[in-house]
Amino acid sequence: MLSNAEILRDPSSLGPRERMAIAVQDMPCQEPAIRATNMEEVALGYSEEQARLEAARCLQCKTAPCIAGCPVGIDIPGFLAETVVGRYAEAAAIIRLTNLLPAICGRVCPQEVQCQAPCTLGKALKSVDKAVQIGRLERFVADREREAIAGGAVVAAVSLAPATGKRVAVVGSGPAGLTVAADVRRAGHEVVIFEAFQKVGGVMVYGIPEFRLPKAIVREEAAKLEAMGVRFELNTLVGRTRPLQALLDEEGFDAVFVGVGAGLPKFMNIPGEILVGVFSANEYLTRANLMKAWDRQKAATPLYPSQRVAVLGGGNVAMDAARMALRLGAAEVHVLYRRTRAEMPARAEEVGHAMEEGIQFQFLTNPVEIYGNGEGRVAGVVAQAYQLGEPDESGRRRPVAIPGSERKQDFDTVIVALGNESNPLLAKTTPGLKVDKWSHILVDGEQRTSMDRIWAGGDIVLGAATVILAMGEGRRAAVSINRFLAG
């Protein structure tokens, strides 16, 4: 066994056997009991030594299946090769060629089903958990760059093509919109981002909590765009404050990108959902994150005094809501999920963190009714037990209700975290904009909508998806917009 110092002395000389022998580097985290009472980031990030050791695990295999697993095709072996020798700025530059928001993606991407899933090392060691921890390394490199910038390091300014005189409107400031803005601005076009909320970032500021994605990172990214000359117009609901078509017809924009996100919370349509104490995860998290209700000293937005909380769902949104409820002072938080842990769509790391923090999971459980206390407030749920049956179209085993298994459980708060559908507002206020039956905007292979000079991407097209997929759609749209404007 080589010592860490020996490994790092000349990493390029390491053979595959030696690389395979290096242990997976664990992510340092705040202690569960402590972090459950604060809003600070849970994962603390690799130390430099850890990062280089983890990067040294990469076999630099010829096939690099990780690149194909990344929705934006980052040159992963390339940035790992720079990381292992401590050339972090160079590593960051490689990532930035294809990923605008590495500090964010390193924290929130579901790496275990993307780049890390096909990793040759993980396959050789017969466990995806033993794949190279690419996401953690992406975060490390991006954070190094952030620290350098904060410390006054001069990072080469993004080069902008000469001004073209063309103007592009971007509707929505989530990852899709921000990506389009950067790529289109680089091509020399003027860019204005219209955002309904009072802050930039979309779900990254109102949904994903501070303890998982510090808002300072989102602010830094917005500031970079501003430094590139992108303008933000906040408090503007396109479709109401400004009609979509008017951006083209009256306000002189040459192209419009629509990245308005999913943003329509699903409910279960079971009795009792109207009771006080039933929240969509969007509402619960927006109150806590965007409106900062977690800071009871300063925030004007009130918070519901929850003691026993049931969270319905098994995705990232459910994990965030459950962990937020715990941090806001709930004594007990239960996640009720229809299937089992294996089928949960949430990032594996978040499920693990939630379990460590004491969130209780009731698998194969599904509420059929929420009952009240006689005064219009939640008193509990009636839940039914399930068992797994045959696999469905998605390949996951279908949960089947067990008749007669209904059971009452007392809760004062129920948070519905079953995902989001597309917000119908723009479609409703824009005649001619074609959508499917779920209000997802229909686009072609270049993200063009049914309307002339209007592109769309991200959750409004995909349905509730991920940050990186939204970015990927943004990139594709930007290429098409730039080509159109050059033509």
Partner: protein, 292 residues
Amino acid sequence: MFTITGKRQLSAEVYRIEVEAPLIARQRQAGQFVIVQTDIEWGERIPLTIADADPAAGTISLIFQTVGASTHRLADLAVGSGIPAVLGPLGNPTHIDKFGKVVCVGGGIGVAPMHPIAQALKRAGNHVTIIIGARNRELIIMEEEMGTIADDLIVVTDDGSYGRKALVTEPLKELCQMDPKPDLVVAIGPPIMMKFCAETTRPFGVHTLASLNTIMIDGTGMCGGCRVEVAGATKFVCVDGPEFDAHLVDWNSMMSRLRAYKSAEDSAHAAVHAEGGCRLDQVVADLKKGGL
């Protein structure tokens, strides 16, 4: 920043402000509202109906009652200062048509949002009867403006200190008993008033609309905090409303949802008035002690 260009106190707890918001002033239609926030970092988002707008001057008029810490804070803003966030116009505009005989019922602060609707209904050629009601004379607002729109104006107070001593439902019932009965009733006011207006017109089969003032956050359909049950289905007031068929609204659940955070608001309000003025810092401090 959305600059406040005018401010007037209409009654002890009711203020009218003019706010510079040219795009909203141009786009807004009767029945729509805005969401305002007095502090980007720590403020609350509060929905307020647009009482009037001047597209030429680029201003909108907002009328609000000081009920919680945030509305007190809004009332404290002076002419020339700015509101950092005003989003709108939100919600569906009122469906304006020539219905024939229309009765507009405005209770308390609900007279403000009724104003543009009554105006639009009048312009569309309807015969418009307006009923204004309040607890007492002091709380009657916009009587003059409504008087210039109405074919008939009826003012009632609970205590008889002004106009007729009655609840708004009494003249409403009389109008429903007349021949011809109204073709449409629009009611805006406290939920309990709207509920009773609905019960008053129901036996006569008179189509009745109510404009709902639920708790809201985003106002864009994203959070579902504003949801109500209408004819057994869940509706979002900010995007599906704010107006609904008053006979189909589940008023009881709507009213209990409005009270979801009531204890906090009450203590803020009481604290202000115990002080005899809008000493907001004190209110906020008290709220903290109370562990809002």
